[in-house]
Symmetry: C2
Subunit: 122 residues, 2 copies
Amino acid sequence: MSIIRRFNGKDNDYTWEGVEVRRYSEEFDGVTKQVPVGPEEGSNNFHIRYFHLEPGKHSNKEFHPHEHGVIIMHGRARVQLKDEFFEVGPKDAIFISGNDLHQFVVLGDEPLGFLCVVVGRR
Amino acid sequence: MSIIRRFNGKDNDYTWEGVEVRRYSEEFDGVTKQVPVGPEEGSNNFHIRYFHLEPGKHSNKEFHPHEHGVIIMHGRARVQLKDEFFEVGPKDAIFISGNDLHQFVVLGDEPLGFLCVVVGRR
């Protein structure tokens, strides 16, 4: 069944009706994850997640076989892709290949928010 | 290989470096499609497309087995999902199930822009 998840956030504080704001992980204070299009919406083939990182925070430095498709929604980041570093900002698109080491580090005083697409089975 | 597609658009005129602006189809003047994360980036499992519709325009009314994950980026639309109609706006998220009839019709004077995720094989 098709479903609409209405945005009910404000500015750089993104939330959607009926979508839980989860902690990214126990070790990552100031980083949250929401899944506006995922298993709860019936989307099993791909998921659209939204990650929010407060200034000074970073995502886990990791690599894994599944790929990421990222669209920056707000804020700026230094992104590591394998052994290279790039600065990215709003609406930049990033494709992260399987098994490429990657990490997002927030730059500046604004929170970073990005959409991250993954396949459902991973 | 991971790749960054830098946003080089402005306001509601979205473009990315190295990403072609394509016509949606011959019959749909005023509707364009870009694929910032797709086969050309090496993303074969899922694609992130961006559709831009000028005021007064609409997408094709269609249904098909593959699903859509949509995030509205700018503008407002009346979206049809099967036999129901909803108004959506910026950052609303929509999951369109396989085989659900769907169509986007632009509302108001602003162009409509949305991200639309699909699986690669469809």
